[in-house]
């Protein structure tokens, strides 16, 4: 083959190849870059050929990993060259060096458009290729209609049209809102009649993207897809050049079957029959052949056919045929096929009830768990995890534990998490569950996250029968010579709580337990020291009559840690020391922890919190994957194959309102009438395990009713009255279903953050995730069905206020069991207003019609962008805005008293950037922000608050901006925030996830915040 055709380029490449080391290479590259730079400086003297040569050289240098930013401009400018050779280089190098986010690309939009609508076919191809590879939003906005025209043009060669199809695909994937595909169903149906296989292949990819978004618009394409499949797979009616090792374009077959998976069913019996004939042929007619490529290609088709069969819920016979095939595949030696066999079996579990047949292959699957190839092991692990139920849990978990000792680090965390979940979900008895978790900690302590040991403590606390067993086990592990710190934590905790149950066994006297735990103290970290101190206090309390020697020993330890530099340890030491001298009272105060309220397993959330990023929503996911990903509560429903529901194992029960009341009463009975402790009484148990477990010992916080607050138990402020009356009219509150959590608080929390739970009841959880940019908002509503039966007649109607343009995408009528659907909602802010958008949401569950009206957090502050400005900028602006209506002042009374610093935090959380020190008076506050709406240019807003240190319930507020409405609305908006400050506005200031395990005494606000924090829940949900 000839050299590049550009001598200078070839010479340069040879030079680079001859470099002995990286340093020489860098030297040579630097020299070349210097040369290119100088040559481009004197651009006029460059011939087109030279320009082209240098730009290619730059691309080569870029591939070597060097920075060639300076040359971006040169590459982009070549796009507008009049002749093909330069233009080609410009287009290709630009698509390699730049990505859609580069500003330079904008410079080329006009040229690109001219090339696309021009008559030169070659230029059209170049332009379509670049836009298809790196085109961003602006390209979509200005080019999509032109590209659409080319795709359906009858005068264009297939060459141009196939590029147009894929170019359009990119623009559509990236900006479905910009590319108008209304009425495209007919066009797509027409395109599917195309005889040119290149155009057909490209169009099929486009169709997949379109149907994955709106399958119902493309019904007319369904029979055509089946025809194509028949043509390829059955009639083999296809030009020779499109067969690959004798197989009619396997890629087109695969894509076509992919498209078919997005249609929920095939109703027309003839179409269905034709399709099944083809599928049957593929299933039966695919043999293993010697030629690798042929084999791969035919199996690519086969696996896609399997996926389609599963999707279509074929007759039992065909399904068992599929399982049989997969069973064969997972036993073959060929690694790719085995891998795919495992992967597809896992998928099959998600869609159909074939668990029993798959279980027969358990031994084979376990062999793959020991395969040298990590890719195969991962698939085997996934499959074992998916197929586990109560009948095989013991075997599978044993295998996982065994494998844990030899598994590479990359897999250990996942492995231990999965083992822990399976043990929890399918434990035939609870002592086994405890065994498994302790073994896990013992074998792979570093990979056992806190969630895992928190969970075991929770189970032990809630199940009295289990307590002596767990304590005995914990005691056993402590005898081992070197144990993991997590084991120290869990053993100490359990022995502190339940060690006294072992009292009569050898080696288990309080003193002995204390001694063996205390041995570990010098080697553990501070967080564990805190737990040990709690354990000591518990031991003291349980030792009745008191053992003076032990008492002195422990008191000495408390005394020693009273001066610890760790606040947490110090506080515990001081408190326990004081408490433990109270004698009899100690018994009450340090009594056993009450049962934990039922909560979803953090582990399951975590395991299913996998981020899946695919160009199209996966068909399986659309249908079923979400069923498993939205495991919202721990009460796992019985699976068809006879798995016992968790509640039957009496691990924990779903708290009904009444059981809550019981707990409440029990809690109150035990609560001492002790002035110093009354504070804690109102502290509800936190949903955050960490603070539960690591918090102070058993100071009986009764499970407060605010765990499930009723919507009406409210702050009583004027705004909440509006909430309960206007938004949820009392008459309509006849809903039999009660919301979980406080709707108003959820709304307020969402006003200052961008994701969280908007609404929840026993059947559904509505989450929200928002992105705000200038005056645009992109929200996604996540509707998660928590039940094992579908929710029907689902409806969401947006009632937008006049100042917002809102478009909610289609909300499906039915949400399948345990599934979550996503409904994007686009918001455009037209002008300033405090009005709030409402969504009227309803669904039917059984015979219950549930209807709620929810405020959407598309509030004024979302269209604000904080901006910090200097004194030099502030004061002239402030002065130039004189008096009403641009500058308004008001004395506000009845303000919730807040220290200035907290008020500043509040302001910042509403995107009003406080500039400290701008106002010399420390009692005053100055803030600035920019407001965005469609009708105004970005508007600077300035705010000044003058507080009265003598009376914090009043202040003077001055708001100024260049727009009278904005000034007024913003002033009113701020006033609302100051007058009624919802408690949950705090989370953004103190990150709730890192809430230190401090006792609630120190941080009374942190617990309710964590409790209400939907962000954490949603994070797991997304």
């Amino acid at each position: 083959m000839a050299m590049s055709g550009m001598r200078g380029l070839s010479v340069f490449i040879s030079d680079i190849r001859n470099c002995q080391n990286k340093e020489q290479e860098r030297h040579r590259v630097d020299k070349e870059l210097g040369n290119i730079r100088t040559r481009f400086k004197n651009e006029k003297a460059l011939t087109p050929y030279e320009k082209k040569k240098y730009v290619w050289k730059m691309l080569y240098i870029y591939m070597l990993g060097y920075d060639v930013d300076f040359g971006h401009m040169e590459a982009v400018s070549l796009i507008s060259a009049p002749k093909y050779p330069e233009k080609q280089v410009g287009y290709i190098v630009t698509s390699s060096l730049l990505n859609e986010n580069h500003d330079f690309l904008r410079l080329a939009i006009n040229t690109v458009r001219n090339d696309i609508i021009g008559r030169n076919e070659t230029f059209q191809c170049l332009a379509l290729t670049m836009v298809g590879n790196i085109g961003g939003r602006e390209f979509a906005e200005s080019l999509a209609p032109d590209v659409q025209k080319l795709l359906i043009s009858s005068s264009c060669r297939p060459l141009v049209r196939k590029k147009a199809a894929l170019c359009l695909l990119r623009l559509y994937r990236k900006n479905p809102d910009v590319v108008n595909v209304d009425g495209w169903a007919d066009r797509m149906a027409q395109l599917l009649d195309e005889r040119d296989l290149g155009v057909l292949t490209s169009s099929m990819s486009l169709l997949v993207a379109l149907v994955s978004n709106h399958h119902d618009a493309y019904w007319s394409c369904l029979p055509k897809c089946v025809k194509i499949l028949e043509r390829l797979a059955r009639n083999q009616d296809i030009p020779q050049e499109y067969t690959y090792y004798g197989i009619p374009s396997p890629w087109l077959q695969v894509k076509t079957m992919r498209a078919l998976q997005y249609f929920p069913t095939i109703e027309d019996p003839n179409t269905r029959r034709s399709l099944f004939e083809v599928l049957q042929r593929i299933l039966m007619g695919t043999d293993v052949v010697k030629n690798v490529n042929k084999n791969n290609a035919s199996h690519a088709v086969l696996f896609e056919a399997l996926a389609l069969v599963m999707h279509l819920d074929a007759e039992k016979e065909m399904m068992s045929q599929c399982v049989a095939l997969l069973g064969k595949f997972i036993a073959v030696r060929e690694p790719n096929i085995r891998y795919l066999g495992l992967e597809n079996m896992t998928r099959m579990l998600m869609v159909t009830d074939v668990q029993d047949i798959i279980k027969r292959h358990q031994a084979q699957i376990i062999t793959s768990l020991k395969d040298p190839d990590i890719s195969i092991r991962r698939r085997a692990l996934d499959l074992l995890y998916g197929m586990c139920d109560i009948s095989n849990a013991k075997d599978i978990v044993e295998e996982l534990l065994q494998y844990l000792s030899t598994a590479e680090f990359a897999m250990r965390e996942e492995l231990s998490l999965k083992a822990a979940i399976l043990a929890e979900k399918f434990a035939p008895d609870l002592s086994w569950y405890v065994d498994v978790i302790l073994q896990l900690i013992d074998k792979a302590g570093d990979f056992v996250s806190d969630d895992i040991w928190f969970r075991v403590v929770q189970f032990v606390t809630n199940n009295e029968d289990l307590q002596p067993y767990a304590a005995a086990k914990a005691r056993e592990y402590l005898d081992k010579p070197a144990i993991h710190e997590t084991m120290v934590k869990v053993s100490a905790y359990i022995l502190g709580e339940f060690g006294h149950l072992l009292a009569r066994r050898p080696g288990c006297s309080p003193k002995e337990i204390f001694n063996i735990i205390h041995e570990k103290l010098p080697t553990v970290s501070t967080s564990t020291v805190s737990i040990l101190l709690s354990t000591y206090a518990k031991i003291l309390m349980h030792t009745q009559p008191p053992d003076p020697e032990l008492q002195n020993q422990i008191w000495a330890i408390f005394k020693k840690y009273e001066s610890s530099i760790e606040v947490e340890i110090q506080q515990r030491a001081v408190e326990y020391f004081t408490l433990s001298r109270k004698g009899e009272d100690l018994m009450d105060i340090l009594a056993e922890m009450p049962k934990f309220p039922e909560r979803e397993s953090a582990l399951i959330r975590k395991a299913e919190d996998t981020e899946v990023d695919t160009a199209e929503q996966s068909a399986i996911k659309l249908r079923t994957q979400q069923q498993s990903s939205s495991a919202l509560v721990v009460t796992d429903q019985p699976r068809a194959n006879g798995t016992l529901p968790v509640s039957q194992l009496s691990l924990v029960k779903m708290p009904s309102m009444s059981s809550n009341v019981d707990d409440n009463a029990a809690g109150q009975r035990l609560t001492p009438e002790n002035g110093t402790l009354n504070k804690e009484d109102s502290v509800p148990p936190s949903a955050d395990l960490l603070s539960d477990l690591l918090g102070p010992l058993a100071i009986e916080g009764p499970p407060s009713s605010s765990v499930h607050p009723q919507p009406s138990t409210n702050l009583g402020s004027e705004e909440t009255v509006v909430e309960t009356t206007a938004i949820v009219p009392a008459g309509e509150q006849a809903n039999a279903v009660q919301p979980i959590g406080n709707i108003a608080e959820r709304f307020h929390a969402l006003c200052v953050k961008d994701s969280g739970v908007l609404y929840e009841d026993p059947h559904i959880q509505i989450g929200i995730k928002a992105e705000w940019k200038l005056h645009h908002g992109h929200l996604v509503l996540f509707l998660g069905n928590k039940n094992t039966s579908p929710l029907v007649s689902v409806q969401a109607i947006i009632l937008p206020p006049a100042h917002l343009k809102m478009e909610l995408s289609l909300v499906p009528d039915t949400i399948p069991p345990r599934a979550q659907v996503q409904c994007p909602l686009e918001v455009i802010n037209l002008h300033p207003s405090r009005d709030v958008a409402v969504v009227d949401f309803s669904y039917k569950f059984g015979n219950n019609m549930v209807n709620v009206r929810l405020r959407l957090p598309a509030v004024l502050n979302k269209f604000l962008q904080p901006i910090t400005i200097s004194a030099e900028e502030f004061f002239p602006q402030w002065r130039s805005l004189t008096g009403p209506p641009l500058k308004l002042q008001e004395v506000v009374r009845g303000v919730r008293p807040l220290p200035v610093l907290e008020m500043a935090n509040l302001f910042n959380s509403y995107h009003l950037a406080v500039s400290p020190g701008l106002d010399p008076n420390p009692n005053n506050l100055v803030a600035s922000t920019t407001f965005f709406s469609e009708s105004t240019r970005p508007m600077l807003c300035l705010i000044r608050i003058e507080t009265d240190p003598a009376d914090r319930t009043q202040l003077r507020m001055t708001v100024a901006s260049g727009d009278p409405t904005l000034t007024f609305e913003l002033k009113e908006f701020i006033k609302e925030q100051l007058v009624s400050i919802p408690t949950v506005t705090r989370p953004p200031i103190q990150a709730p996830t890192q809430a230190p395990p401090a006792p609630p005494v120190a941080q009374p606000a942190s617990n309710p915040a964590a409790l209400q924090d939907p962000g954490a829940m949603l994070a797991a949900l997304l």
Binding site: D67, G132, E241, N336, Y339, S375, I620
Partner: protein
């Protein structure tokens, strides 16, 4: 869809890199480094698929060259695996008995061929003949 295509030799030198998703340069370097590390030491008896972050790399080795496609985890692995082979056949045809050196000195041609084969991360044309003919047309224009 294909997120990116990498052609790397055993030492990890990039011979071709095509990204269909927007990545910053620093991120591209990282990706190239990681993918190379991921595939280079895998036993030939292993699968041609390996998890990479939230995606999947489908790779195949030809002499000292690794062809890697990063695709969605839901994509059809074997179809992409054979897509690599088809690409190699096209290169082989175009360069008549392709070797690494051809690809080094004619890297710009490889980009051209690739653009006729894959666009927007999807297959555009699967006929070897159509692509080779198209390349002939383009060469005449230069």
């Amino acid at each position: 869809m294909i997120r990116f295509i990498l052609l790397q030799n055993r030492q990890g030198k990039t011979r071709l890199a095509k990204y269909y998703v927007p990545l910053e340069d620093s991120e591209k370097h990282k990706v190239e480094y990681e993918v190379h590390r991921l595939v280079v030491n895998r036993d030939p008896k292993y699968t041609n698929f390996v998890e990479f972050r939230t995606h999947k790399v489908i790779y195949r080795r030809y002499a000292g060259l690794f062809f890697s496609l990063c695709v969605d985890i839901t994509d059809n692995e074997l179809a992409y695996l054979e897509c690599i082979h088809l690409f190699v056949e096209i290169l082989d045809h175009f360069f008549s008995n392709v070797c690494e050196l051809d690809l080094v000195f004619n890297f710009h041609k490889v980009y051209l061929i690739l653009d006729e084969f894959i666009l927007a991360g999807e297959l555009q044309e699967t006929s070897k003949r159509a692509i080779i003919e198209r390349m002939g047309e383009l060469e005449k224009l230069e």
